[in-house]
């Protein structure tokens, strides 16, 4: 391995001078600089990130803790994050599958020292665990976490508003028996969406029927199973609101399996508006949250905190959602990519 010492020796200067050249800091004679760069290129010298990090206490890396990596949702978050991090010349250290407090604790610990900041997306995290396992000085941005403390920057989707508006839209279509495929139990996104559905039903003069609330876990398979369960009911629901698009896709598959027309036999709506939603058959009506943008915003917020050494003013942001009305809810004569889908903005809380 070629180190700064090799370059210094070969170029006939001290290591300090080489360092100055590579960091564009301090005064250095033009000739000297040229010579150093020449030697460095010849030796293929690359400054060692660990040595640098140890000295500067910066790693130029950002940690991203995700609960999972399944499906388009996380892949989109990641895409936005990577794009933004890269623009700021930062690396992304990704870690997923942290589904209980102990795993999260371990992950937080492992990240210590390797990253300048942390974006945490975890339905199971709480302020105590965070404070216990992270130094106060480490910038943190919480993504879709339910942490009551305002000591952290946080980014949340307007789950309640989106679910409320979507259910209201289904009511507007004339549906009276609207089922919901719930998300993972004890997940904050899931429960907020359920609350939106419940309130919309109630406000519409109906009563939320327990039999119309079936369990799911955000996967296609669970959506498939849930839809099958709903079909066994009598009377059947005339509309189904799935708490995310994956489950909606699973449900669509189940309905097709039973040769039920959509939206005639049953209307379907999802949540997230993943990129493929518009390409499905029928095109899926969904609540758009701008997932890609979520990743971008998270990293931007974190970088701001890093630059200010975590002494900045914390912000809790709730991102507004948008209804994207396509075929599956019964908003007819929509042609993919030929006309724009009907869109209805939902004001943030």
């Amino acid at each position: 391995m070629i180190t700064i010492k090799d370059v210094a020796r070969e170029a006939g200067v001290s290591i300090a001078t080489v360092s100055r050249v590579f960091n564009n800091v301090g005064p250095v004679e033009e000739d000297t600089e040229r010579q150093v760069r020449l030697v460095a290129r010849r030796l293929k010298y690359v400054p060692n990130a660990l040595g640098r990090g140890l000295s500067t206490k910066r790693t130029d890396a950002i940690g991203l803790l995700l609960p999972d990596l399944f499906g388009e949702f996380f892949s989109e978050v990641l895409r936005g994050s990577d794009q933004t991090a890269q623009k700021a010349h930062h690396h992304l250290v990704v870690s997923s599958s942290h589904n209980n407090r102990e795993e999260i604790r371990a992950a937080l610990t492992m990240m210590r020292g390797r990253v300048d900041g942390l974006v945490i997306m975890s339905p199971h995290i709480d302020a105590e665990t965070l404070n216990e396992n992270l130094p106060q000085s480490l910038p943190v941005v919480l993504l879709n976490c339910h942490v009551e403390s305002n000591g952290f920057d946080s980014l949340n989707i307007d789950n309640y508003g989106g679910a409320f508006a979507m259910t209201q839209h289904l009511l507007w279509h004339g549906h009276t028996r609207i089922a919901i495929i719930k998300g993972t139990e004890r997940n904050i996104d899931a429960s907020e969406r359920l609350r939106g559905w419940t309130d919309a039903i109630t406000e519409g003069g109906g009563t939320p029927d327990p039999r119309f609330q079936v369990d799911g876990n955000f996967t296609e398979a669970s959506g498939f199973d849930a839809a099958k369960q709903l079909l066994a009911l009598s009377p059947r629901p005339t509309a189904v609101f799935a708490c995310n698009d994956s489950m909606a896709i699973g449900a669509l598959s189940a309905f097709r399996d039973e040769e039920i027309q959509i939206p005639e036999g049953v209307a379907v709506a999802g949540f997230d508006d993943v990129p493929i939603a518009s390409y499905l058959t029928p095109a899926l009506t969904s609540v758009q949250v701008g997932i890609h943008n979520l990743g971008i915003r998270a990293i931007e917020t974190l970088l701001h905190a890093v630059r200010n050494k975590n002494t900045h003013c914390r912000q809790q942001i709730v991102l507004p959602t948008t209804l994207v009305l396509r075929e599956s809810c019964g908003c007819t004569s929509y042609h993919a990519h030929v006309r724009d889908p009907l869109i209805q903005h939902i004001p943030s809380l």
Copy 2:
């Protein structure tokens, strides 16, 4: 920040002893160990990864270079990788969007020193660029790269065999006008799949019609556009082989848009067998490559190289593919998740 020195001082021992305790190495009195651990817990000491890395020349991190992060393909690779890396107590440093040689060069450089090894997935990489920009000692696994050198471990999908078999299957269905939606230009996966299609057509006694070869770039949007182009032809193709599932999904959407029945009006097949393929309407026939498994294998291979300090015997592996026959090709009476899809194994080259 709490360092090993703080723990040593507080526990009344030397830093060497603390280090020994935390690395389970060398002899240390039971009482001493207990005392050290107690103090460490009280002070919430976590060994600094940079210091450790500098000393041991290991980072316990693995770099993953991806061309992109769009869609389920990469998300599945990542999922498999993360899972395997985590099991081996390694971190994953992800970097994407490297679409030309210069960007790759920069990414390789940035990774230097931060990772113990590199998984590189890039259609644009060549042996020269790799050798130029990486120290010989750094383990590398090439994923779906077209590098003729056998100086690297590599994992490749049997693109040719899969495409050949799928085209043959479409021929078996009686189709004579089989179009192909090509992948990104100059992409090795894309060209190998095209070659498979071409050879199968030729071997079936037909002639590959240039008008039936339309451009695509592996995105849903390009598949949509390509399908629209195919519909403008006369006579139209009776079957379409899309070089990946995303484009197949785009094509399905375009056909639905024109109210063409699938598979009656036109049969469709994809490549990759992404998780949602089985949930689509109609369920998508595809070439299964076990994407998740690809990520697992890549990391396993890399870890093996790391453990052997890169002195191991290099392997070039071509992973066999499997035909998964569902509705979209005309293999009828398939019901999602009720029966297993028809499956046909394709021997590796």
